[in-house]
């Protein structure tokens, strides 16, 4: 564990400074992982996908679904545009935490699909809320608030579409 300092720097690549400095426990976990890597003297294995990835994909898919709905029903713009904007705000924050620019994020179009009626959008929000609730339950402490707010925001979207 004397290697913690060096390892921390290595771990920081791809993560925002705030995320790394945010919690002692996250740094501790990083240090443990790092010790293993240095001991093995092998090339770094591919990083496991960030647990935020599914939430990010969902946020982008929902934003796209709202865009599609507004294109086919322009009268809904006032009602739907702010919801799409919330999802984009979530996506931007998550991609920042994941450490990957939004442009290269895979856009999950399959789940967005033909969700262009308000009822379908509401269903999609409810499903997305469930994903976020499950993610919040197992999130690291420094991300619990963020993921929790995303879950709550999705719930308010479902309410706004009632």
């Amino acid at each position: 564990m004397v290697l913690t300092g060096a390892v921390r720097e290595k771990w920081e690549i791809g993560h925002s400074r705030r995320w790394v400095l945010g919690t002692a426990s996250a740094v501790g976990a990083a240090a443990l992982t790092g010790c293993g890597l240095l001991d093995d003297d092998e090339p770094e294995p591919p990083k496991a996908p960030d647990p935020l990835e599914p939430l990010l994909a969902e946020a982008l898919a929902l934003a796209t679904a709202y865009d599609q709905a507004v294109v086919s029903q322009p009268g809904l713009r006032t009602r739907l545009a702010p919801l799409a904007e919330d999802h984009r705000t979530h996506a931007a924050e998550m991609s920042r935490l994941i450490g990957r620019p939004l442009a290269s994020a895979p856009v999950a179009s399959a789940s967005a699909g033909p969700a262009t009626t308000v009822a379908a959008l509401r269903q999609a929000e409810q499903a997305a809320q469930k994903t976020a609730v499950a993610a919040c339950k197992v999130a690291a402490p420094d991300r619990a608030g963020l993921v929790g707010s995303i879950a709550a925001s999705r719930a308010t979207h479902a309410e706004a579409l009632r």
């Binding site: 702010p82 919330d86 709550a152 308010t156």
Partner: protein
Amino acid sequence: MNEQLGAALAGEEAAIYAYGVIGVHLDSDGDVAEARAAEQAHRQKRDYLVGRLSQLKASAAPSPAGYELPYEVTDRATALKLAIQVEDGVAQGWRPVLPVTEGAERATALAAMTEAAVRATRWRRLAEVAPATMPWPGRPD
């Protein structure tokens, strides 16, 4: 964790007080039913928090006998405005509980935060405030 639970409790108690004032200025059945349900929900959360703090052998600060409202509530418009503010405040009270809890306890805190955020959205719709949602419920402004 006691500190965060204590702050959530303070938010719930303030909400219970505020709904007493809010209710007086609502007259449509829909508004009144909504306010009653909200107050009931806040009482349940308060009881949960008092019980939890007692389990943890932590003493919560006694709730103040009265609150100074941020503005005078004189009619439906100011009552709805206060209801929105109160629910936003309750959500903000619960959010810091998330990082210091886990499992079922975190789920309970998230449910409380989410319910407050959903009620805030419902009040915004009733008050015709747009947008009715926000990206980060529970995050202080």
